[in-house]
Symmetry: C2
Subunit: 121 residues, 2 copies
Amino acid sequence: MPWILNASGPIFVQLIEHLQNNIVSGKYDPGQKLPSVRDLAFDAGVNPNTMQRALSELESTGLVHSETTSGRFITEDKKMIDELRASLADSLKQEFFINMGKLGFSEKEILQFVNQNSTAK
Amino acid sequence: MPWILNASGPIFVQLIEHLQNNIVSGKYDPGQKLPSVRDLAFDAGVNPNTMQRALSELESTGLVHSETTSGRFITEDKKMIDELRASLADSLKQEFFINMGKLGFSEKEILQFVNQNSTAK
DNA sequence: ATAACTGTATTAAGTGGTTAATACAATTAT
DNA sequence: ATAATTGTATTAACCACTTAATACAGTTAT
C-alpha cells in the first residue's frame, strides 16, 4: 500500500492518516516498536523532516510515544485504539452522507445507493 | 451553506467542488446565467483571481461556458449533468469503502455499519 | 454617449508545505 | 571503546496557492 495517494492535502497529514490506519487496523500491534524516522521516511518516499512532523503530531494525540534515543512505540492502550477506530469510522460515514447530500441525495436514496452493488464489478 | 469548509485542499479546488455540487444538485438550472466572477468571489469570501481560476477550470470540463463580456452560463446538456452526478456519487461511494477498508472493515461490516443508525442521533 | 459591468490578464508580495544538508546528545551494537 | 543508530533541531532554498492592486476591451444599462 503506497503512502501518498491523494495530492489534495499536505503530505504530513496523509502520513498521519496512513499511520493511524495501520495502527487501528492492526497492522501495527499495541506496544510495538516503530521503524526509525529515517526508515519510515524512506519507505514513504518522503523527506525525514516531513515524517518527523507527522510522527510528532501523532505523539500529541497519545497514539504513539517516543523514547528519545531508543525509538518510537505504539501505545499499549487498546481501548484508546479501538475508540479511535470507531471515531474515524463515524467520521467517514458522516462525511459520506454529507457529501452525498450535497449531490442532492436524500438519506433514503443514499441507503438504497449503498446497498446496491453498482460499484463492485 | 458556506463555501470553504475543509482546510485540507487548495481553495480553488473546493470552489470547483462547491460549484459542481450546486449544478448537479439542481441549485443552478441548466442554461442559467451565473453571477459575475466578482460577485461569486465576494459570496465565497475569496479573491476574484481564485474564483476565476476555479471557473476557468470548470469551463475546461464543459460544465460551464463563458460569453466573454456578457457572462457565464451553466451548460444546457442535462444528460452531461446527470452523468456527472452519477459519476461523483460513484466516486464518493468507492472512496468511502476504500477508507473504511483501511480501518480494517470488511465489505460486510461496512454495510452493517452504514445501515445501522449510530451516527444519526 | 456615458457609466457600469463583463471576463480576462499581469505583476508583486506573502504564506505554508516540502526538501536538503547538516548537527547534536544519548543509546545500542560490535 | 568505537561505530552505528536513535529522536530532535536548525537553516536555507524552492514551489504552489492566495491575495492585492491594477489594467484592458467589449457589452449592457441608463
